[in-house]
Symmetry: C2
Subunit: 255 residues, 2 copies
Amino acid sequence: MSRTAIPRYQQLKDGIIERISSGELRPGDRVPSENELVLAESVSRMTANRALRELTDEGYVERVAGRGTFVSDFRAQSHVREVQNIAEEIAARGHRHTADVIARVQAEARGEVAQALHVDAGTPVFHVVVVHRENGTPIQVEDRYVLADFAPDTLAQDFARQTPSAYLTSIMPLTEAEQVVRARLPDREIRQLLDMADYEPELVVIRRTWANGRAVTFARLHHPGNRYELVGHHKPYAQHDAARADVVQLESLKK
Amino acid sequence: MSRTAIPRYQQLKDGIIERISSGELRPGDRVPSENELVLAESVSRMTANRALRELTDEGYVERVAGRGTFVSDFRAQSHVREVQNIAEEIAARGHRHTADVIARVQAEARGEVAQALHVDAGTPVFHVVVVHRENGTPIQVEDRYVLADFAPDTLAQDFARQTPSAYLTSIMPLTEAEQVVRARLPDREIRQLLDMADYEPELVVIRRTWANGRAVTFARLHHPGNRYELVGHHKPYAQHDAARADVVQLESLKK
DNA sequence: CGCGCTAACCTGTATATACAACTACCGGGG
DNA sequence: CCCCGGTAGTTGTATATACAGGTTAGCGCG
């Protein structure tokens, strides 16, 4: 199995992300400068620059010309993979993650699931339901379908120890995701599993994930509305466009 | 206000985005290669590489080593600005957008608003409340605060014709945004404005937007849970996962 | 006719170098 | 004491160059 070498800039990124998520580097802390990375890691400055620049784009760090590079103070990890891995998210808050496996069966894709995965009804899928807890309080019901031929060992996994997301990302590179967020009243099963109050809304994230252009997993992530919120952030506009604002105005005037 | 020169790689990106959004380049079409850009635009290959690589990260194009760079086939515009402008979103669905201005007053920042904008309580802000309708059905209550000294002409605007978002982006380049999504039961005013059923949850997007490193506007966007959902998608992982090479190879063998 | 090899072109990565602009700090002169 | 300017360190950008590896088309040979 000749796997392509991991690029040097990616190794630098991974190393810094590791130092952040392990808690060694805390929000506001200074990250090694480009020149320090050049000396410590024996790379060229352009390679160090690419690593730090991409970490900036991904929200892990912030850079100020003349001062340095610093760990972001809000949710360094959540906006890249967002709800992707709730165990990491809980761990990042310094809390304890536990999980109960409610169901883990082979089934056939039907209706919404078949449609979402672009397969015919009857296609074999694995269906996994897991309740995730933060310090013992239920915070997510993960209701996931996985194409059987893509992850044939799914039923042998212990999802109380490794989340389905973590397992799936370990066996295949997920290249793209789509998510839909809805607010609604939960059905009784979800309300009971999440220990929710009467008429408490749930926040549902419905997520499809692709690998190599093929939709391979479909999940509904149910969260209690009173105890959960979804955080994200991004740079809506490129840094350097004075001109773009004008274009937007023209466009709205045209109507 | 001395505006910084626009970097060359950004100019290349803007030029290609313009050719895509004007329809000159259609999904699947080939984009000029790095070497063609070197000759045509008189830049170094690294600069052309950076432009095309960032366009890849942003979802505009896809690149295949050995073949070339091609315009992506799905969407191009929506994932960058997401919920940014509801009027454009409605127009993109081919529906009619209307808006009613419920309030448009000068006020003083207090509590959550002052905290979100990082100003002292008492700082002058404009407070605007607008109900947005899609084909006449209310679909969003926009409850927005704007720092008064940043957009002094706010009260003179006709927000029934141009949304607050569009107005704000027309007067200043917004550089960063943070949003929090919550599901909850609406208070009575919101329920009435959105014409919601009893116990129907609302989906609230709480959004802060920065310009030049300073938080300048804070908005609560209330949506009826039964009639609205939030869509987004992204590439959750970096290009170069260790495992990916193997899968790619399998795919090419299959052909 | 078909197979394999090669040449041309493409992307992906990496380095060395250069200049501009910004920031913090320190020391000297008023 | 305060301001002013220099200096060192930092990020941001741009170039020229190099090599590795994927893809395609075409050509020649068996």
